[in-house]
Subunit: 269 residues, 2 copies
């Protein structure tokens, strides 16, 4: 089989990675995709490094069995926790979401004062700080974990009073520090953009890693001559470890197209 | 070994079951306890029946290996999903939290209009409705899933603006229906009592299953001659599948005493 025909594997703890899948579909419409979301064990964000690493190995093992040509870790928590370990273990290129997001933030900031929001694990890993500092050693970085944002998005409460007061409680301290750029360091957060903008004001740039990650994927495919060139339509397959009905219902809001076919698999086996 | 010396095993998806452990410690101070919280895979509330049942089997298997004389399923979601399956499988008495809570609600209501709140899984199982109807066939029951309450409690936001607006959004429809009794059908919810009271008013009775479950445990120990009588102090052991630091930090707020010793185990093995 022509290696270029093989799909790109996308791994996420749940549905958030569909924001990344969407950008890849738009930027690289010829590519076949296989998505795996570990919905039986979501959320990963407040779990330990050891547990996240174990779950991530099981998830990418499943994708490797689907004979993928590349793996995208479309989850900030996993990217921040064990990307290097995964890269060393796997025989295909592995792309995370942290470095692309950090690059976009370093480019966007005017005053060099950058805010970073994400899950507890992503924030405590300092992964974004390290990646931004490599590009801009003098940037002032203020980071903040926002653990309620993921359940808010999962509940579909994107712009009601609860969403507003949650955003205000988390983000006021960053606003006071005078950030001009805010990295949405979790793939769920782009759905809260209008509410986050209401709190932060129009002048703060919101950086969403999804598009940057799709560009990184395009660059690697080009560089390694892995880009698919067939004229046949691309195929998309979706796998979850639990509750496909909820994944389809919430996920179609992310993806803005039907999620079909979808299958349930157990990554522990 | 004298069977009465054996500990009672308490199983929960995470830390919420500590509200039940606390009531057992107070009502039955001589009993030894072993607690297992599946913090690597919490929350269970929006997962499927099959996944919850599989996780619950693994959790109670671990407790059985600790040589317990009885098992308390201190989790509404698990009690609502697979209590009968667990009971048929296990050689020791198994107590859930639904029937004790339903009994207290049936006793408390004056007008026969009862509200029930819990996770998505607990509410869709109709387990509380069935249990209340067996006691009061004419009761009017209105139930509502409140998926944001668990993450709010885990975040420690018990009485701020976000907690208030979340409670108001979920509970206003129940208030309009004229309920006089509200079952807190999730072990996390008692921590939100002051905020729930603020929305519902002082005249609505809030039923918390924890104390009722402890009474049920006492009754079974007496009936089966399993109650511990030794004068030696009781011992408490805690096990989690992940992140013991967070369990101790949040859990001591539930339990109002130190959580020690605590160990990490993997229930998948």
């Amino acid at each position: 089989m022509d290696v270029r025909e093989k799909p790109i594997g996308i791994f996420d703890s749940g549905i958030g990675g569909l924001t990344v899948a969407k950008e890849i579909m738009e930027l690289l419409p010829k590519e076949n995709l296989v998505y795996f979301g570990d919905t039986a064990r979501v959320p990963y964000g407040s779990k330990s490094k050891e547990t996240i690493t174990r779950f991530a190995y099981q998830g990418v093992d499943f994708l490797m069995k689907q004979d993928v040509k590349m793996i995208v870790i479309a989850c900030n928590t996993v990217s921040a926790t064990c990307l290097e370990e995964l890269r060393q273990k796997l025989p295909v290129p592995v792309v995370g979401v942290i470095v692309p997001g950090a690059r976009a933030a370093a480019k966007a900031t005017r005053k060099g004062v950058i805010g970073i929001i994400g899950t507890e694990r992503t924030v405590s890993s300092m992964a974004y700080e390290k990646a931004v500092r490599e590009l801009n050693g003098s940037a002032k970085i203020i980071s903040k974990a926002c653990p309620l944002f993921v359940p808010l998005v999962e509940e579909g409460w994107l712009d009601n009073e609860v969403a507003y007061f949650t955003a205000r409680t988390y983000l006021e301290p960053l606003k006071k520090e005078g950030i001009d750029t805010l990295v949405l360091g979790c793939t769920h957060y782009p759905l809260l953009k209008p509410t986050i903008k209401k709190v932060m004001g129009e002048e703060v740039v919101l950086v969403d890693s999804a598009l940057e990650t799709a560009k990184e994927v395009a660059g690697i495919l080009r560089e390694k001559s892995l880009a698919r060139e067939s004229g046949k339509p691309a195929t998309y397959r979706f796998f979850v470890s639990d509750n496909p009905e909820k994944f389809v219902k919430v996920g179609e809001r992310f993806l803005q197209r039907p999620i079909d076919p979808i299958d349930v698999v157990d990554p522990e086996i």
